[in-house]
């Protein structure tokens, strides 16, 4: 089940599967973010191009105001998708420990 919301550290925690069926929910949440934002992806099991599109649109919007998205606790599978997509060059990405 896909979940998105703020955690106790003021970061946006994303978990579950971010696929085409869930992209709208993620986009609605992130559209309300107006400042630099850390996305904790520790619980993210899967992302497709629909989810990548959400991240890209949000990052571009925030970069317009000199902020952006930072992606942390990224597991190997998700990092592979970022690498194939070139997202590792567009975002600050920190792998899971």
């Amino acid at each position: 089940m896909f979940k998105i919301g703020f955690n106790d550290h003021g970061e946006v925690a994303v978990s579950g599967r971010l696929d085409a069926a869930q992209a709208e929910k993620a986009q609605e949440f992130l559209d309300a973010v107006t400042d630099h934002c850390v996305l904790d992806l520790q619980g993210l099991e899967y992302i497709s191009s629909a989810g990548l599109g959400v991240l890209l649109r949000t990052h571009k919007r925030l970069m317009g105001s000199e902020s952006g998205l930072e992606l942390v606790n990224v597991n190997k599978h998700i990092f592979d998708v970022f690498r194939y997509s070139g997202f590792d060059k567009l975002f600050v990405v920190r792998a899971a420990q």
Binding site: S49, L52, G53, L56, K60, M63, Y84, S85, G86, L90
Partner: protein, 135 residues
Amino acid sequence: MQRKYHRSFNQIRKIVEDTAGFFSDHEIDESLRMKVDLSLEELFVNMVNYNTETDSDILIEMKPIEQGIEVSLTDFDVERFDPTMAAEIDIDAPLSERTPGGLGLYLVLKMADSIHYEYRDRKSKITFTNRVTGE
């Protein structure tokens, strides 16, 4: 496995469940799941989004192959659209030039070990394979 799915994003959850069951039943290496799930979703979503002239269900077939899996998606009563001819994406382009469009099929072409397209009698069929040795 042969199963038809309605043309709706809501079917993605069912496809994922069926794929998990197929992997388990046929003892297919779980390391392939991410790539198979991603290619299946991208191709299914592409058919739903772009083959809008039909209401026909989309047929998904899976079969085990040596050290892997073969997956086919067939869309009925549609125009020809060959996903293997999708445009390359410049993943080195700066952020200002990047758009989400086209990324799905690009990922499929990168992640599948083989991919084949057939079009006959207004049926559009795409078949891909993933093998453990394809890494």
